[in-house]
Amino acid sequence: MLGFVVRRLGQTVLVLFGVSIIVFSLIHITPGDAVDVMFAGENVSAEQREQYRRQLGLDQPLVQQYLAYMASAAQGDLGTSIRRGTPVTEIIGTTIPATVELTLAALLVAVVIAVPVAVVSALRQGSVWERGGNLLALFGISMPSFWLGIMLILVFSAGLQWFPASGRVASGTGLQQITGFLLVDAVLQGDWAAAWSGLVHIALPAVTLGTAITATLSRVLRSGLLEVKGQDYVEALRARGLRFTTLLRHMLRNALPASVIVMGVRIGSLLGGAIVVEVVFGWPGLGRLVVDAIQNRDFPLVQGAVLVLAVLFVLVNLFTDILQAWLDPRVTLTGVSR
């Protein structure tokens, strides 16, 4: 197990190295001079452009630029945003809690919906329940999240006015920031009004983001359950007259590893999906920051945000692999250990 983790960590470092090179190259593979591209169509004098080139270190040799960028990145310094004049790390830091909060909420939505749907459709094969579950899954997979998001806004915000259309919390709560996670902070401070406001704000984005993985998760979990359903030990347990819930627990545990892998990969894509959902719902997270930075052609910020997204993605995958190995010892045996 330990050997597997070490090996997997080694791979992660390699991937991160590759990522760092790609992120660093962003500014150089763009056609034309990076500073000219950033200020295209703006009235910025030649001297000022020269100054920005110096500020970005573009007058240095390429290798030196890369080493300098990585050296500061390793110390948590990703440069300064051209448009905002504040450190990139600081800007990104303020957006990460919002994105993580949204991702976890979406995951929660997915699990809460997918597990019952999977269980019912696996155990009642051929029933109207199964067909309903299949339909729901198809619906979830096919629906583009920007469309679903806007539909939810139109129905539940503009129409019924049950949920707010955008933002993370109502303005004027005066909530102190401790961890940056709004719901956690609200609970820590016992500010139930703010916590409630946070919950109603996160509901629609979490449902939108969660719907796509709900479908995948319920499909994978269902086939996992179908696989174990026919196995001897299940028959044996059933024959012993165990209660249904106990039986289900045993089945779920064995159907779980495959689902965890799928979830791990999907969490990665959630980060990408969050970009769309964050823009639609005005959610102040990392995804929206990337879109803003690209629109403003703020290269240092784009670089930093892409780097952080990539690192998050790689870490989630690493974490999933380790979790998978832990849940299913066969992985270490067949994978790397020997």
């Binding site: 197990m1 056609p31 034309g32 295209a40 169509g41 703006e42 009235n43 004098s45 100054q51 448009r83 905002r84 004049g85 504040t86 303020t94 957006t95 990460i96 809690p97 976890l104 806007i150 806004i153 139109l154 915000s157 503009a158 006015q161 707010p164 259309a165 955008s166 933002g167 993370r168 109502a170 303005s171 004027g172 709560t173 005066g174 909530l175 102190q176 920031q177 940056g180 996670f181 956690v184 902070d185 009004a193 703010a194 406001s197 545990r253 779980l256 823009v279 639609v280 719902f281 005005g282 959610w283 102040p284 997270g285 929206r288 879109v291 803003d292 629109q295 403003n296 974490f319 010892p329």
Partner: protein, 513 residues
């Protein structure tokens, strides 16, 4: 740990959350207004405005985006303001006069204080203008004031500005650049000033949660009288459907940048309010390459475009058809100019004989308009096709002269025809950009004179002549000037939209509904 007996996925989730928690340390508050909880509906006297983008900084001199300036300008003020006709009006200066054509004297408003108590005086004006022009500061706004040579403090409430050349557009430039407190900025430095900005405006900065909200509180000591609302919140909502939904549900009171084709869908409790905008859309033709090197083809293109139909079909009528590269409120707009009427028969007589296909370049933002224009040219017999480019590639094409024709727009918030004429039709300031490749000595000379003449009537006359030359030679088909549309809840009283998108909210009141 080779084989755990009871794996607990739950533990993993907790661990994941823990990891994420340690990754980011907090600081500050979610917002700093500290008054009653609730959205726009419940907060007494809290006005909420939604724009399409967040601010980039609160330092008035270190950005060049409109959404940022809209917010900044409620906290800071300029020497000169602009009324809804874009004419200069007193703001921090109560009046001004010209000693000669390069020397301006500004009389400053007395008994004005910045939000930190610092008195506003002539030193602040000098400091602010010099800060923008300082190459070390690298302000993106420097080019707006580059005509300024010196700023001299005459006494506590009088400032003299001299310019390198006669500068009829000086007031327009001053109107979009705010005054900052000299002592405070020097004392705390740029970074802390941006984090805790103080201005002279009707609202005080209370806090900024990036991508979430900018919170401002009313300045009870404002020289123009305390605002009617207690607090003002700017929220960035990039997606237009969400912005409209937030308005409809009452989360926000004013939603900016509503597209004309959606303005009719605001429904109960809110309405669309439009004001003539400051952006001029046009079709530009390369006068050095076939087929537009032929004058008659360019004139025919002008006759082939039915601008009223474009305005109705694409903008629901919320746009004005233009017969010259200017809109009516602009200084230099020629009242008596004869443009080209829509005349499909005359147009197709010429355009049908054009053998070569014409590529019209556009960027994504103008795609619909470009395609409609191409459609009308096709109807008149020209083989016109639209190609959409990424912005930088588009600029490369039009600046290098590779483009045969392109649909684009030019914003003229200064309200002066010089901004558009000098940039597009005056050889000296094109800065190597090709655009249409159209130059004539007579018009260059006229624009040079227009730039150095102060007599307003003389300027009007000069620009009218320049406009007439441009329209006669027809390097452009001037198209439309769309309205700026905002959605406003019925509970908002006393608010008027501004042509340059500003939110003048000092006098706005909220009615409980």
């Amino acid at each position: 740990m080779r084989k755990p007996h009871h794996p607990h996925p739950r533990r993993a989730l907790v661990l994941l959350a823990g990891l994420a928690l340690t990754a980011c340390a907090g600081g500050g508050t979610f917002d700093d207004t500290g008054d009653a909880a609730g959205g726009a509906g419940s907060g007494a006297g809290q006005l909420v405005i939604a724009q399409s983008a967040d601010i980039l900084t609160m330092d008035p001199h270190m950005h060049r985006t409109r959404t940022t300036q809209n917010v900044v300008h409620t906290v800071f003020e300029s020497l000169v303001g602009q009324d809804t006709n874009l004419d200069p009006v007193p703001e921090l200066a109560t009046g001004w006069e010209q000693a000669d054509d390069r020397t301006w004297r500004f009389h400053l408003r007395e008994n004005v204080r910045f939000h930190n108590g610092e008195a506003f005086d002539a030193e602040d004006v000098k400091f602010s203008i010099e800060r923008i022009l300082d190459p070390e500061q690298a302000s993106l706004r420097a080019s707006m004031l580059e005509v300024i040579d010196t700023v001299t403090v005459e006494d506590e409430h009088t400032v003299v500005i001299t310019t390198d050349a006669p500068a009829p557009t000086l007031l327009a430039g001053l109107a979009v650049n705010e005054i900052v407190p000299s002592e405070y900025v020097t004392e705390v430095g740029d970074e802390r000033f941006a984090a805790a900005p103080v201005g002279t405006g009707p609202f005080r900065f209370a806090g900024w949660t990036p991508n979430e909200s900018v919170n401002l509180t009313a300045n009870p000591d404002y020289w123009g009288g305390a605002p009617s609302v207690d607090s003002l919140v700017f929220r960035p909502i990039p997606e237009v459907a969400s912005r409209m939904a937030a308005l409809q549900s009452g989360d926000v009171h004013i939603a900016a940048e509503i597209p004309a084709d959606l303005a009719g869908e605001l429904g109960d409790g809110a309405q669309a309010v439009g004001v003539p905008g400051t952006r001029v859309f046009f079709l530009a033709m390369n006068v050095t390459a076939p087929p537009f090197d032929q004058h008659e083809v360019r004139v025919a293109a002008n006759r082939a475009i039915d601008k009223e139909t474009l305005a109705n079909a694409l903008y629901e009528g919320r746009a004005r058809a233009l017969d010259q590269p200017a809109y009516p409120e602009m200084v230099g707009y020629a009242e008596d100019l004869r443009g080209y009427d829509f005349d499909p028969a005359a147009a197709s007589a010429v355009l049908q004989a054009v053998p070569e296909p014409v590529q019209i370049d556009s960027i994504e933002a103008t795609r619909t308009l470009a395609e409609a224009v191409a459609g009308q040219l096709q109807a008149a017999g020209l083989k016109a096709e639209v190609t959409v480019f990424e912005e930088q590639a588009f600029l490369d094409r039009i600046e290098s002269g590779a483009s045969t024709a392109y649909v684009s727009s030019w914003g003229v918030a200064e309200g002066d025809a010089d901004v558009i004429l000098a940039r597009h039709f005056w050889s000296p300031s094109r800065d190597g950009a090709f655009y249409t490749g159209y130059t004539t000595a007579r018009r260059d000379d006229l624009i040079s004179r227009g730039r150095s003449t102060h007599d307003p009537q003389e300027r009007e006359r000069i620009y009218a002549e320049a406009m007439q030359i441009v329209m006669d030679d027809a390097p452009w088909v001037p198209l439309l000037n769309p309205e700026e549309i905002s959605g406003v809840r019925d509970s908002v009283r006393g608010w008027e939209p501004s042509p340059i998108g500003r939110f003048n909210v000092a006098d706005v009141a909220l009615e409980s509904n």
